[in-house]
């Protein structure tokens, strides 16, 4: 004698979920877009085009790691507060590390910019990569400026009382008060680092997406023929 156990609903195989590209879910759509834009072996590649055979190519990564040290040393200063470095020799040393990592950051970033200019690195749909790089530079200048304002010493007194004239002339002084230490410190340790990281992060992602710009054609003046204006397939140079 057999027992009819029926067919519980749980044993009915569920319908196959829609393909992410067809899903209406935000989550699936975002994940699918991210995976398409940045396949893992492109986000973290283990190979590079053979034409990347110059020391000039290390200045991008040198800039990024310098920024990392700016942030790390800044975090140590933040642990003990903005007055620490005036009263402690350890604090002064950390401040020195912070200052020299900023000098290194701009040193490497400008050399990186010179290299990318002479490579015309905007070619092949890389104009947004170039633009985010320039904007990173400009936002970094602003971040450094608020850092100089936050020193709480003679230098910050002079810089603030001078800079106020430039900034006031634009009308921005109505809100952005360089004489207000508290406000400038918060711009320096909260708002501008977020800005720098977002824009620099976007810049790096765009480099991963479009790849490193190939060399000029031999002779450098290849005007024959046409080029496809469709977007570059992700990851492949041009």
């Amino acid at each position: 004698m057999s027992i009819d156990t029926g067919t519980p609903a749980e044993t009915i195989p569920p319908a196959a979920p829609p393909h992410p590209s067809e899903s209406h879910q935000w989550t699936a759509k975002v994940r699918h877009a991210a995976e398409s834009a940045f396949p893992p072996d492109q986000l973290l590649p283990d190979r590079q085009p053979a034409y990347m055979a110059s020391w000039i190519y290390v200045f991008g990564v040198l800039t990024v790691v310098s920024l990392a040290w700016v942030i790390i040393t800044g975090c140590v200063l933040a642990i003990m507060g903005p007055s620490w470095w005036h009263v402690s020799s350890t604090g002064h040393f950390v401040n020195s590390l912070h200052l020299w990592s900023v000098e290194a950051f701009f040193f490497f970033m400008v050399i990186h910019l010179w290299g990318k200019f002479f490579m015309a690195a905007w070619r092949g749909n890389r104009r947004l990569t170039w633009a985010t790089g320039v904007i990173s530079f400009l936002v970094s200048v602003g971040a450094a400026f608020t850092g100089y304002l936050s020193q709480q010493n003679f230098d910050s007194q002079w810089i603030s009382t001078q800079a106020k004239d430039g900034i006031n002339s634009t009308g921005a002084g109505a809100v952005f008060n360089v004489l207000n230490f508290g406000q400038m410190l918060m711009w320096h340790i909260v708002l501008l680092p977020i800005g720098v990281l977002l824009i620099a992060g976007l810049h790096v992602l765009l480099v991963r997406r479009h790849g490193i710009v190939p060399p000029f054609a031999e002779g450098g003046d290849d005007t024959a023929g046409t080029v496809d204006t469709a977007p570059t397939p992700a990851g492949e140079p041009a």
Binding site: S54, I56, S89, F93, I111, G115
Partner: protein
């Protein structure tokens, strides 16, 4: 004691700064050194041979 020596400056850059006047340009020796170094590093980065990598081709 060593830490004190480590944390202080071995070369004291305080005191009155040295400046170079060239026409309408006035630049500190320190900034000039930085800029000259940048140009030098840029030129070296382009000129110095890059080590060959082995293997892998597409």
């Amino acid at each position: 004691m060593f830490l004190g020596a480590l944390l202080g400056a071995l070369i004291n850059l305080n005191g009155s700064g040295r400046y170079i006047h060239w026409g309408f340009i006035q630049i500190s020796v320190a900034n000039l050194v930085v800029i000259v170094l940048m140009v030098a590093v840029f030129v070296l980065a382009i000129l110095l041979p890059f080590p060959r990598r082995k293997g892998g081709g597409q």
